[in-house]
């Protein structure tokens, strides 16, 4: 218990700290691919996937950790991921994003987080469990891309690494625009940690390394997985109402650590303040949180569990989920950001 408390909290706190300081927001990243034609955060995610993939498969090869891909419940993954993608736009952050923004003091994220935990618990052990099970029942036998194709997993990892390296080189060669920054008030380490803007690619490498470390740390406590957000978040609520200690695992301390790490980062950077959302944002956060919980439970993971971890493990579930999360994000972005702008422009044209 002590071990999972310490390593889980530390791993989570590092992740929360890095995400807060690096402004690592996948929801914003997926949304901006569409509304701003900006792929930087998506590329950053690919970097984190590639780093993790290489590291974790080395650990598997050396026998330090175990991984079985299992079956691929494709219907649940596709529908769940799409709904999750819609939910994160409404909630203003993905599951991890919501955890770390809760640590920045955003009450809207607290509301979203509650909705997310609640609906995840309803799907995993509540009255929607039969729905969840029925949709999971349609499965393809192999989740591992390597097993389906009969090609070594290292071939796929090599392809990914080459693609990512090409993207990074191309992006770093682009002429740089000087982005105005706040006047530095600190020097040395304080400036680097709490003021300086971090390059998203640098942040991505750190996240990849943290994601690798999660595997052996988690498995040492008997939880045979890497980073995961949805099940642990549901576990917190389930434990709170049942008192069943077996629900407490490494993942629970991981997500609590994200909250803690983000709070430390935000507080030290003078970016923490309790902020109350307006009514509309509050309602959207609650709805979005519930959709996130529903979708992620169905899909077997959120943008971290599926989008960052199962992709790195080279599973169908990971990559199919990532595609449908992005499509869900774009669909919701159209209705939330693009269409209102269009109707405004149209009415403005009429009045002039």
């Amino acid at each position: 218990m002590m071990q999972m408390l310490i390593t889980g909290l530390i791993c989570g706190a590092l992740l929360g700290f890095v995400m807060q300081r690096g402004r690592f927001c996948l929801t914003g990243g997926f949304r901006d691919m569409y509304i701003a034609k900006d792929n930087r955060m998506f590329y950053a995610l690919l970097i984190a996937i590639a780093v993790q993939s290489v590291g974790v498969y080395i650990l598997i090869q050396t026998g330090l950790i175990q991984f079985t891909a299992g079956a691929f419940p494709w219907v649940a993954v596709i529908i769940g991921s799409f709904i999750f993608g819609i939910g994160i736009v409404l909630a203003g952050g993905c599951a991890t994003g919501t955890w770390y923004r809760a640590g920045e003091g955003l009450i809207g994220s607290w509301i979203a987080l509650f909705g997310y935990m609640f609906m995840s618990a309803v799907m995993k052990s509540g009255f929607l469990l039969p729905v969840n099970q029925a949709m999971q029942a349609t499965q393809l036998p192999n989740n591992s891309i390597a097993e389906t194709t009969g090609i070594s997993v290292w071939v796929f990892i090599a392809i990914l690494v080459v693609i990512v390296a090409a993207i990074v080189m191309r992006e770093l060669r682009k002429p740089k625009v000087v982005i105005p920054s706040l006047k530095p008030k600190r020097k040395g380490l304080g400036h680097l940690l709490f003021e300086k803007r971090w390059h998203p690619f640098f942040t991505a490498v750190l996240i990849g390394v943290i994601a690798i470390s999660a595997w052996p740390l988690s498995q040492a406590t008997g939880r045979m997985a890497g980073l995961g957000i949805t099940t642990p978040s549901a576990n917190i609520l389930q434990y709170s109402v049942t008192g069943d200690v077996s629900l407490i695992n490494w993942g629970v301390f991981l997500v609590l650590g994200i909250f803690l790490g983000s709070f430390i980062a935000a507080k030290a950077s003078r970016e923490f303040r309790f902020r109350m959302p307006d009514t509309k944002t509050g309602i959207n956060s609650f709805l979005g949180g519930n959709l996130m919980g529903f979708g992620a439970s169905l899909a077997g993971g959120c943008s971290i569990g599926n989008g960052l971890v199962m992709t790195a493990m080279m599973t169908w579930q990971g990559w199919v989920s990532l595609i449908f999360i992005i499509l869900g994000t774009w669909t919701a972005s159209y209705f939330v950001f693009i269409r209102p702008g269009k109707s405004n422009a149209a009415s403005a044209a009429i009045t002039s």
């Binding site: 927001c25 920045e104 625009v177 105005p180 706040l182 003078r270 303040r273 109350m276």
Partner: protein, 74 residues
């Protein structure tokens, strides 16, 4: 006189969405003051200004998790 956009309390990306709308309404050389408290906008607003060639004439933290930025339209 500079126009002021108050988007304190709005979550990202709305501060930037609003800023893009308002910048279309002002003349070249005029300034737009944006007051916001969404952390992610500390990255997205100056980036947007720089990439679109607008000058940033003032940018500072006015309190805990509260910022102001002045953008001069290109």
């Amino acid at each position: 006189m500079a126009k002021t956009l108050e988007v304190v309390g709005q979550v990202c990306p709305f501060p930037l969405v609003e800023a893009k709308k308002v910048i279309d309404e002002i003349q070249s050389g005029e300034e737009l003051i944006i007051n916001f408290d969404c952390t992610q906008a500390t990255e997205s607003i100056p980036r947007w200004a720089a990439e679109n060639g607008h000058a940033v004439t003032n940018y500072e933290a006015v309190g805990e998790a509260e910022w102001t930025i002045t953008v001069k339209k290109k």
